[in-house]
């Protein structure tokens, strides 16, 4: 028998789980973007100094 209560009770876990994964992933994206920028800035600075 289809248990609607079990479905409704488990939906928040799905929401929390997917949200958690996207939050952690977004933080990693920010870290990666920061890493992408650091070497470029240094190289630009070196060029400007030259």
């Amino acid at each position: 028998m289809f248990d609607i209560n079990a479905l409704l009770n488990s939906l928040p876990y799905m929401g929390k789980g997917m949200l958690g994964i996207f939050v952690v992933t977004s933080l990693i994206v920010l870290v990666v973007n920061a890493l992408n920028n650091i070497p470029e800035k240094k190289e630009n600075k070196n060029r400007e100094e030259k």
């Binding site: 289809f2 248990d3 079990a6 479905l7 009770n9 488990s10 939906l11 876990y13 799905m14 929390k16 789980g17 997917m18 958690g20 994964i21 996207f22 952690v24 992933t25 977004s26 933080l27 990693i28 994206v29 870290v31 990666v32 973007n33 890493l35 992408n36 650091i38 070497p39």
Partner: protein, 394 residues
């Protein structure tokens, strides 16, 4: 004459033929199908050959290769069992299986995967990380279905992680949440990983248009060595602070990757990538396969787990491809949605499937490196998903 008859009778009675059950025969058939797929069709032979052979070995009756003498017995002070035997009297594959149950093999596999993984495509295209996250959707869909089918939340969480398409993570989480389901979950996870070339293409085709599949992605930017060295360390610290429970897996993954990228421990990197990884794959594959003994494996619950695992796999692929489609629209056609399917982890099989599918519709297309981004992101994503499941249900 009587002597010969009694000899033949004794031989027959002690042979495996008398012990062979229909369940053994079904599983031997499954082993033959897997061997055929691995050898003739070349479906991930490195995984499927050891798994199939493990299934075959476990279902040849009378060998005792997977017998567990320690089951329900008490260890004495000298390590002997109550019955006078020792732990090492168990079947040889049962002893090796301790590496699976203790999570030693999954962690060592992650070390090897880390050493083999180039995070360059991910670093040059960070958006691909989101595809790796979206491709965890199947985990939670399967979780809900498992709950509806009457599994406990811990069992449902362990079953659903099959959707992460990541064998080591599935074994690790199941060992912590529902160790009694380790055998079917590990076998389902590894079997589906090996069968990715069969499972994913129809879903990818059904969810994308021909125009989307033909998209040729631009070349990725070059990533500096510094970025590649700093990435594993920073990401490990970040994730470990948020989800400390996943450190055994991600710690080994990032250690392996640091071996690869730092450039000063080439010998360690080489060992982790090749010799050690090959040894662990053999031991893990054969022992996981050997858990599929017909009598204990062919039960309605096991078949339910196998079906749920497939559901999780399908919805994970769907999640990745759908986010790929959204990114296709957002970037005005610069991202080929097929690479979203690679977000299901399973490195590098899923990326190869994306590459092959892309080439079918545009022979000049080369999606492999683009798909490697979501693919390695999927490894991180599935470990993070496991960490959240552990957080919620342990």
């Amino acid at each position: 004459m009587e002597l010969i008859t009694s000899l033949l009778k004794g031989l027959w009675e002690s042979s495996g033929f008398t012990l062979l059950t229909w369940q053994n025969m079904v599983m031997i058939g499954v082993a033959f199908v897997f061997l055929f797929l691995a050898i003739a069709k070349k479906f991930e032979p490195l995984l499927l050959v050891p798994i199939a052979f493990g299934i075959l070995l476990a279902n040849l009756p009378g060998s005792g290769i997977m017998d567990d003498l320690t089951l329900s017995q008490v260890f004495g002070g000298d390590g002997s069992l109550a019955g006078g035997g020792h732990w090492y009297d168990s079947g040889v594959l049962r002893i090796l299986y301790a590496g699976v149950k203790s999570s030693i093999f999954p962690c060592l596999i992650f070390l090897g995967v880390g050493a083999m993984t180039d995070f360059g495509p991910l670093l040059s295209n960070p958006v691909s990380l989101l595809l790796g996250a979206a491709a965890q959707l199947g985990i939670y869909i399967a979780f809900i279905i498992a709950i509806l089918l009457g599994f406990t939340p811990q069992e449902a969480a362990a079953i659903s992680i099959i959707g992460g398409a990541d064998g080591p993570t599935a074994i690790w989480l199941t060992g912590k949440l529902a160790s009694h389901l380790l055998a079917p979950i590990a076998l389902a996870a590894y079997s589906y990983m090996a069968l990715i070339p069969l499972i994913q293409p129809p879903i990818m085709k059904a969810l994308t248009t021909k125009k989307e599949r033909e998209v040729k992605m631009t070349q990725l930017r070059k990533v500096s060595k510094t970025e590649k060295i700093v990435f594993p360390v920073i990401v490990l610290v970040l994730i470990a602070l948020i989800l400390p429970s996943v450190v055994p897996l991600l710690g080994m993954l990032m250690l392996g990757n640091l071996f690869r990228e730092c450039g000063v421990v080439d010998r360690l990197s080489d060992t982790a990538q090749n010799a050690m990884n090959n040894i662990v794959v053999i031991l893990l594959g054969v022992t996981v396969g050997a858990t599929a003994n017909g009598e204990s494996f062919l039960k309605p619950q096991t078949l339910g787990i196998v079906a749920l695992g497939l559901t999780a796999f399908i919805f994970s692929t769907v999640g990745g491809v759908l986010l790929g489609k959204i990114l296709y629209i957002v970037t005005k056609g610069k991202i080929n949605p097929l690479i979203g399917a690679a977000g299901v982890s399973a490195v590098p099989m899923a990326a190869r499937v994306a590459q092959n599918e892309g080439r079918k519709y545009n022979p000049t297309n080369f999606l492999l490196m683009h798909a490697m981004g979501p693919n390695v992101a999927g490894v991180i994503g599935s470990a993070v998903a496991a960490g959240f499941l552990l957080l919620m249900f342990q």
